[in-house]
């Protein structure tokens, strides 16, 4: 790496030159910032301005660029230079736009701007140019776990994109649940009845596809490594194992039907009471002829479909969610009966859930075929008169009633085959550590009944994908259905979320893209979403490491294992570059090339600290770059103002906040410190899962530091904010200024 040469470029456009002393900014960059080249331009983002910078890069050896002008979120197309480190001194949104344009404010406004120049120069001095992680394997090879419709779709789609696939199926054949069905719900619009499942064709396509290797009667006994270099051990029933290396994994392990034996009140136990899969078996056996009932083989003439059986219910043992597919599945099955048996088929539902265009078409199609629909609450199913009696309340006719049926189909829900929740073990560890015996008991019980692991991940954080809710491996983010917490491993189909076959196919296709993308990213050593494209990665100084394990425990993505000697072992491909490990490290040995304890620490120290008697407090703000920082930009654009004492530093995630920054700030005389992170808790908004929460916990412990320094607790505040807090955040900043006015300046000014 050649010598660091800093170029600082001051833009005087957008009114900067009118309100600030640009010469002074230039001098600050030179004198305090020690920039090697400093230039100003009235319109820096113009072609001419950009060329000015490019020329310095090309001809003057500038490899560290400081843009003094607008926010890092603005004019990104213009200020995009190759092979240099870039930062911004945000004096437009961060200074000009948040300060009133009046002579009495000119001095403090200029001070703000000068500070941002100093900060940016200090930061860039410690920034390297990331070159991507060393783990750069391109493995155009995927592991797909589960041979149902989701898994088969993933395999076929991956192969179509030029990827090889290892398809692992626990049972002896491909096809999964849909394979056990007689027919399926159509995926296209129009009033058509049930259609062929298409499973046979998929199986045939897979068998004929040289790109796809099928492992039947097999499970994944071990998964090690990271995106681009997962080493997977596939165990067959016979005991032999296969080792394969894959770039990414799609987990499409599907669901099992809810155990209907838990519903004796709905007739479970009677041979003629079946669940939906049971009915599919009857239909399949009938092969297009009349469907017969199990007890005596009599042709079925009347069937009741009981929707939401053991679902959408908070009774213990029931499923508290809706499984999404059962309404259309029952309509489909009722259509079999209409067509094959000319039978009465009554669907007793609470809400008929057939959404979208395809869904509503299918409902209407069922009606056209003469399926009977009734909004009814079933209270009991029992044997009567050689058949069954279904007692229910007809909610439309508002009466308790009953119908006789030859067969009853219970629409029970989906239970995800997702493996144990990895955080159970960690929670148990934590509970034991905290000596919370009640919690320990609860968790131990849960672990006892946890299903066997599916992926057997050799991760510090546990063996499987984390669950979101009800045992499903869904993403927590509405806009990002594939935002997994285990980079390179994507859940698809009903293991991710309750869904029908149509959605499962879409889901598996999407997950396949993400898996492919993970391989491509790994090959280039860059991060996945949300810091996609980021080439920086964490590394640590082994000499300083105390093996405290905080980084391994706190990593939200399970990226850090421990080696035999107890040192952290990074798996860069799994890392999402949030810096939570860096924030966690008490001895500050973890850093990224362009983001480190120093890049932030030096910035906050670069601020010119007025003395105690100047009545010019300084407030350090560490703002999450995902939400708080954009909100501040937007606040500025809307003309919201805040006090001139504030100095804002964006952080990748509040979880990357190392307490040393706070201690340093307090020691350097800052009068207040504000941390702005995302919402935590169950509905967390932090894209790094627990970053914000961890920061809150860390800051709750800062009180001791404050006490030891004899400082007031109010001086350090942590907030959960959102990107929409455009009015609230400036208020938070001003509130701190008021607080300082009240409690007085910090005594630590030197």
């Amino acid at each position: 790496m050649s010598e660091k040469k800093i170029g600082a470029y001051v833009c005087s456009g957008c009114g900067i030159g009118d309100r600030l002393d640009v010469n002074q900014l230039v001098n600050t960059a030179k004198r305090d910032g020690k920039a090697n080249e400093v230039k100003d331009h009235p319109f820096l983002c113009s072609a001419e301005g950009v060329k000015l910078i490019q020329d310095d890069i090309d001809n003057n050896g500038v490899n560290r660029v400081v843009i003094v002008g607008c926010s890092r979120r603005a004019k990104t197309e213009a200020f995009s230079f190759e092979n240099v480190a870039i930062t911004r001194a945000n004096i437009r949104e961060g200074v000009l736009w948040v300060r009133p344009d009046a002579p009495e404010h000119a001095e403090t406004t200029q001070e703000m701007a000068d500070d941002y120049v100093r900060m940016a120069c200090a930061e860039i001095k410690y920034m390297g140019i990331p070159s991507g992680s060393g783990e750069q394997d391109l493995t155009r090879h995927l592991l797909v776990v589960g041979g149902g419709i989701s898994g088969m779709t993933a395999a076929i789609e991956a192969s179509k994109t030029g990827y090889k696939v290892e398809l692992v199926e626990k049972s002896g054949e491909l096809g999964g649940m849909v394979g056990k069905m007689y027919k399926r719900v159509p995926t296209k619009n129009g009033l058509q009845g049930p259609v062929d499942t298409g499973i046979a064709a998929m199986v045939a396509a897979i068998e004929a596809d040289a790109n796809i290797t099928v492992h039947l009667n097999s499970t994944v006994s071990k998964t090690e490594g990271a995106p681009g270099r997962f080493d997977v051990e596939i165990a067959t029933e016979s005991g032999s194992t296969n080792n394969v290396r894959v770039g990414a994994i799609v987990q499409a392990t599907g669901f099992k039907p809810y155990d209907m034996s838990q519903l004796p009140e709905l007739g479970a136990g009677n041979a003629d009471v079946v669940d939906q899969m049971g009915f599919e078996a009857l239909a399949k056996a009938a092969a297009g002829g009349a469907i017969k009932r199990p007890s005596d083989g009599k042709e079925v003439k009347s069937v009741a479909f009981v929707q939401c059986a053991g679902q959408r219910s908070d009774k213990p043992g029931h499923l508290n969610y809706c499984s999404g597919h059962c309404c259309t599945t029952s309509i489909k099955q009722a259509m079999y009966l209409r067509e094959q048996n000319d039978a009465t088929a009554v669907v007793l539902f609470d809400d008929l859930r057939t959404p979208g265009a395809t869904g509503e078409d299918f409902y209407r199609c069922g009606q056209e075929k003469g399926v009977t629909f009734s909004k009814g609450q079933v209270s009991g199913v029992a044997a009567a008169n050689g058949g069954l009696e279904v007692k229910f309340k007809d909610l439309i006719l508002n009466e308790e009633t009953a119908m006789e049926a030859d067969l009853v189909v219970l629409a029970t829900g989906m239970v995800a085959n997702s493996g144990p929740n990895p955080y159970l073990a960690l929670d148990l560890e934590a509970a034991k550590a905290a000596e919370d015996t009640a919690q320990v008991a609860v968790l131990e019980k849960q672990i006892e009944v946890a299903p066997p692991s599916i992926l057997n991940l050799q991760y510090r954080q546990g063996t499987d994908l984390p669950h979101l809710k009800h045992g499903f491996n869904d993403s927590h983010f509405i806009c990002f259905p594939y935002e997994t917490r285990r980079t390179g491993i994507y859940a698809a189909g009903p293991v991710r979320r309750p869904m029908d076959a149509h959605q499962a196919v879409e889901d598996a296709t999407g997950a396949t893209l993400k898996a492919i993308q993970a391989c491509e990213n790994a090959a280039l050593g860059r991060a996945a979403h949300p810091r996609s494209g980021d080439l920086s990665y964490p590394s640590f100084r082994k000499e300083g490491c105390t093996q405290c394990k905080r980084c391994t425990v706190e990593c939200p993505f399970g990226a850090i294992n421990e080696d035999e000697k107890g040192y952290p072992q990074y798996n860069e491909g799994r890392c999402r570059r949030c810096g939570t490990c860096m924030g966690a490290c008490p001895v500050r040995v973890i850093s990224f090339e362009n983001y480190s304890v120093e890049t932030v620490g030096q910035q906050l120290k670069a601020v010119d600290m007025p003395d105690e008697f100047s009545e010019k407090p300084r407030i350090l703000v560490l703002a999450c770059e995902n939400d708080a920082y954009p909100a501040l930009d937007m606040a500025a654009a809307k003309g919201n103002t805040y006090n001139p004492w504030t100095r804002i530093i964006p952080v990748r995630c509040l979880g990357s906040t190392n307490t040393i920054w706070i201690t340093d700030a307090l020691n350097s005389g800052y009068d207040g410190v504000i941390l702005l992170g995302c919402q935590k808790g169950d509905n967390y908004q932090c894209h790094f899962v627990k970053g914000s929460e961890i920061a809150h916990i860390r800051m709750s412990k800062i009180d001791d530091t404050l006490k030891s320094l004899n400082l007031e607790q109010e001086r350090v505040q942590t907030y959960e904010v959102s990107i929409a807090d455009i009015d609230r955040i400036p208020q938070i900043l001003d509130d701190m200024a008021s607080t300082i006015e009240k409690i007085g300046m910090s005594p630590f000014k030197f």
Binding site: G15, N320, P355, C479, K638, I726
Partner: protein, 427 residues
């Protein structure tokens, strides 16, 4: 307009809403070349107009910001705004797409400094707020708009306002001579993600959207909650600006109805449930909400959101499609209908009505090559005969944001498969 380079290994994504952005970015992050065209001046689409998402009640701008960061960082995506695909011909792996570029009258020089906005005087209905408030003739569509560049309303061009804007700009960014242009691009595959528009509520005549001030739509209600929206974030009656005490949410307003949209629009149930939580949060016990519904489609694991709302004593549910709305006293309206659970007639007085208007597809006719199947609801089915034209998001069915993103990711893979094949053939 600088040159736009495209080849038959390029994927064209039409529509810069959440689906189009997702498809474009997912493909680009797989290393593919993408041209993303958006008809309006900014990406973000319909979700940019939402206050919060269900069921997490988080802000859509949060996800948009991440998408924008991905977009800014990725050189594989070329974004064209004010651009509309007007025709596609050819076949999978080799299409020619005609793209009409409308003049923005403000070029890339724009720094968003805001001087032109201060200089102009004219005001027009603000599209971002469904015309519920005004915006200037030179404007940024909304806080998070991207590209972060001003737009000059074409109606201001040729007026003093146009000249004012031009005079105010120090960066030579206002170009009043900008003309409409047409681009012809060679692309290998097309992801169509032009999304949806709210069904025109005035067409649902029994509900008198065009006759009663206090009958509004769910998308308008959503704008009302935005602190930067027409009411500064306050829930108020349009007629008198007073906080309502008794709101009706009417489901299937235009959906599941052969007089309007035959399909179920999927999102409206959850949207109304979500909106009752806005009411609860802002007005507490001072306001009741009543949801008139046929079926509550809080499908799959988010059914718990419905269960939570059901427990709110200020929210009630009536299984009934409201028959009609007539005027009551003091700007109130009266909803007539029957609660079908046991046949109870009602004539309920409400001081604000929110119509859960459905999603109408914006898939156009006459743009696609022959053989492309657009179904009777206006959505693009996944059909062999569609070649490499893939519907995504609400161009493929009425979908919520989560499913739209999922579906757009799948569509991106299908497009990638086509261009990968082209690349393999071309070596």
């Amino acid at each position: 307009m600088s040159e736009v380079i495209a080849t038959n290994q390029t994927i064209l994504v039409a529509g810069g809403g959440i689906s189009g952005l997702t498809a474009a970015l997912e493909a680009a992050e797989c290393g593919k070349q993408v041209i993303l065209v958006e008809k309006g001046p900014t990406v973000g689409g319909r979700v940019g107009q939402l206050y919060k998402y269900f069921p997490k009640l988080c802000f859509p701008t949060c996800g948009l910001e991440i998408q924008l960061r991905r977009l800014k960082a990725n050189k594989n995506v070329r974004l064209l705004t004010m651009a509309e695909v007007t025709g596609i011909s050819g076949e999978a792996g080799n299409y020619t797409a005609s793209i009409k570029l409308s003049p923005r009258y403000i070029n890339e020089n724009c720094t968003a400094c805001g001087e032109c906005g201060k200089a102009v005087e004219g005001e027009y209905d603000d599209e971002h707020n469904y015309g519920m408030k005004k915006r200037k003739a030179a404007y940024i569509p909304y806080n998070l708009a991207y590209p972060q560049r001003y737009v000059l309303d074409p109606r201001a061009v040729g007026t003093d306002d146009g000249e004012r804007a031009k005079a105010a700009c120090k960066y030579n960014a206002v170009d009043l001579d900008m003309q409409e242009e047409t681009l012809e691009l060679n692309v290998g595959a097309v992801v169509w993600a032009t999304g949806w528009k709210p069904y025109p509520a005035a067409k649902i005549q029994p509900y008198g959207y065009d006759r009663y001030d206090n009958v509004i739509t769910n998308v308008e209600f959503e704008r009302m909650l935005d602190p930067f929206g027409p009411t500064g974030g306050k829930i108020v009656r349009p007629s008198d600006g007073v906080a309502p005490k008794n709101i009706a949410f009417i489901q299937c307003a235009g959906s599941r109805d052969r007089n309007h949209l035959k399909h179920c629009s999927r999102i409206c149930c959850m949207a109304s449930l979500k909106q009752t939580t806005y009411v609860a949060e802002q007005l507490g016990d001072a306001c009741k909400s009543t949801v008139y519904y046929i079926d509550i489609r809080a499908i799959d694991r988010i059914d718990d959101f419905y269960q939570k709302v059901q427990k709110d004593p200020n929210v009630s549910f009536v299984k009934s499609k409201v028959a009609n709305i007539v005027s009551g006293s003091n700007g109130n309206v009266v909803l007539n209908g029957v609660d079908t659970e046991g046949y109870n007639r009602y004539a309920n007085d409400h001081d604000l009505v929110v119509l859960a208007t459905g999603m109408e597809s914006t898939v156009p006719q006459g743009v696609f090559p022959e053989g492309t199947v657009i179904n009777e609801h206006g959505f693009i089915d996944l059909e062999e005969s569609n070649g490499a034209i893939f519907g995504a998001g609400c161009s493929s069915d009425a979908l919520d944001v989560n499913r739209a993103a999922q579906n757009a990711t799948a569509a991106a893979l299908r497009a990638i498969q086509v261009v990968t094949k082209v690349a393999a053939q071309e070596g």
